[in-house]
Assembly symmetry: C4
Homo-oligomer: 194 residues x 4
């Protein structure tokens, strides 16, 4: 299960590059065209970090799961479906950035992220209830993970609703969530050996 998941994560994260298109400028300035398409670069970076962080979290989750049944496999398939679709809303955002349709693109992106965060929670709760966790897992670790996962749908839900007010604010919040998780993951990593 982990090899297959790692594969889907690795492919989805690498397919994001296909959303970056060679600008057709003829004899015009390629440098200016590349600067002008910064929204595409920014959404590439945000989606790359987002998938990367979800992968780190998925990896951490898998270390706590000892056994695997078909319900878990099925939930994992639904999680991967959300991961694998990320390049599409990313393309929507980079294509419609700074147009009136930016709100619709940001909402689509947010809907994918909220669904993904909900499935992540479902997967974790199922693993706990079905007794699939590693024997002797520290209950404080388990409830710590439970709490940190619960924040996900709330953060992404807020960022999605923000799109109705301002699609730019929504995109900045998607980036902030990625950086927040990366920083907290990093701090958590530093604390771990202590």
């Amino acid at each position: 299960m982990e090899a297959f998941s790692d594969g889907v994560f690795a492919i989805a994260i690498t397919l994001l590059v296909l959303d970056l298109h060679v600008p057709e400028v003829g004899d015009g300035s390629l440098a200016h065209a590349l600067v002008r398409q910064w929204p595409a670069d920014a959404s590439y970076a945000v989606s790359f970090l987002t998938i990367g962080i979800i992968w780190i979290n998925h990896h951490g989750l898998m270390r706590h799961i000892e056994r695997c049944d078909r319900v878990l496999l099925s939930l994992n398939i639904f999680l991967l479906m959300m991961i694998a679709i990320v390049p599409y809303p990313t393309a929507l955002i980079s294509h419609y950035a700074r147009t009136p349709n930016a709100t619709a693109a940001a909402l689509y992106y947010g809907a994918v992220m909220v669904t993904m965060a909900l499935i992540f929670n479902a997967l974790w709760h199922y693993a706990i209830r079905a007794g699939l966790l590693v024997q002797g897992a520290d209950p404080r670790d388990v409830s710590g993970i439970t709490r940190s996962y619960l924040i996900g749908p709330l953060l992404y839900g807020t960022a999605t609703l923000l799109a109705f007010a301002s699609s730019d604010a929504s995109l900045v919040m998607y980036a902030a969530i990625a950086i927040f998780y990366l920083a907290s993951a990093t701090l958590w990593g530093r604390r771990a050996p202590a």
Copy 2:
């Protein structure tokens, strides 16, 4: 063999996202355009679940196979050829949904699925006859798998023939087969520890 197969499954399932195209609406409504292209989303979801379920079954099958010879490798290559081509009939269906050509697209999709189900059966029967199964496998398990695999070509064959009557009915049946296998896999998984 399993690492390579997992790779092909993971890539084919992730390439499905390339069938989702950013709609060109200019200043028109992106939201309406996204809603109008629901057949593309639906065929993405059906093909994703279908490949996902075949992967779960392939995974289950591999656990029963202990050794691997070159005939099995060759049959596996043919199986992977059918898996890897799935994004193409999926694109045909999403492109020609609700047009007179939907029947041809549904037939092509069904032909791939029937062929794949037949190769799956051939692979399993070869593994049994060539003595490649795990020593001491429970004969009831083996014959249970044999029966569940036999249903595949029948179900997909019926869905394919349905396309002559109604391509929509055919597509609904492809979705139903995926959900049926997912549900039975899930139920089977729950029963397993009992």
Copy 3:
């Protein structure tokens, strides 16, 4: 090294599907259009089988190699470069089939195949001379593999030169080589346990 190679094989073989394009027929017959593009389907199948067989052979080769140095890694990179490029000449052949340019496309395809077969031989000979083989490998097995690899450049060279006379004959021979290797691999596999 084997995980990375398996990845490149799996991706290259799966990317072949991107050479199959949804035909734009409007209200015309999709069924006829799909039948007319059989050269694309045929070159998909031949390239898929070819990469699949090279993967089986690569897999067999790796079982005989115990250690791995950086020269071997470098030769492997060059081999993978040829594997990864296969979707491109496949696209050339399917695009220019049955046109005057079919010869050029068949020659390009053949040049890739001959180069790949030569690198395969170089990799094997280097592994033997550098003492990287598994200790106690049967010398008859080793020289048997050496002989079977030597046929590769000759077969692909002949198919390439055939393109000057008839590009169709050349394509048929590429298919025949794939089927020949598949059949001999299969027969060899059957004989193995004896």
Copy 4:
């Protein structure tokens, strides 16, 4: 971590083939068109070798790292972001080769390479300082690797600055760096057993 990284390397290196486009020549000469697009082939080869060599180095680095914390995972995500984007500047170079925009394309390519080389150094230095290396690693080996990694940003920085004088010279230097690393890796590999 290594499986996921190997996946991203393998996919990025294989996606490079998508930068090679079937030339549309109608009844004109495909052979001439293929010869004329040698810059696309050359940039394919340079990027393939570059990613291949970075993979070999990444592989070598991982053998010296025993434990893995979340900081290291995060740095690795940033490294993979640079690897995964390589097909994009490669497409820029092959599209704008021999036009006035070749300088901008070469600068973009160089900026990616310099950033990647800097992250590679950061990852290695973090692993040393955080005590993640294999116990009992030979200090001379470690400082040898440190020195060889330090050359990377300098070489790529020089090649990038060269683009202001001549984009062709810059491209030749990118190729030379790849060949230099491949040759030194190969020589180093030969020396290793001595």
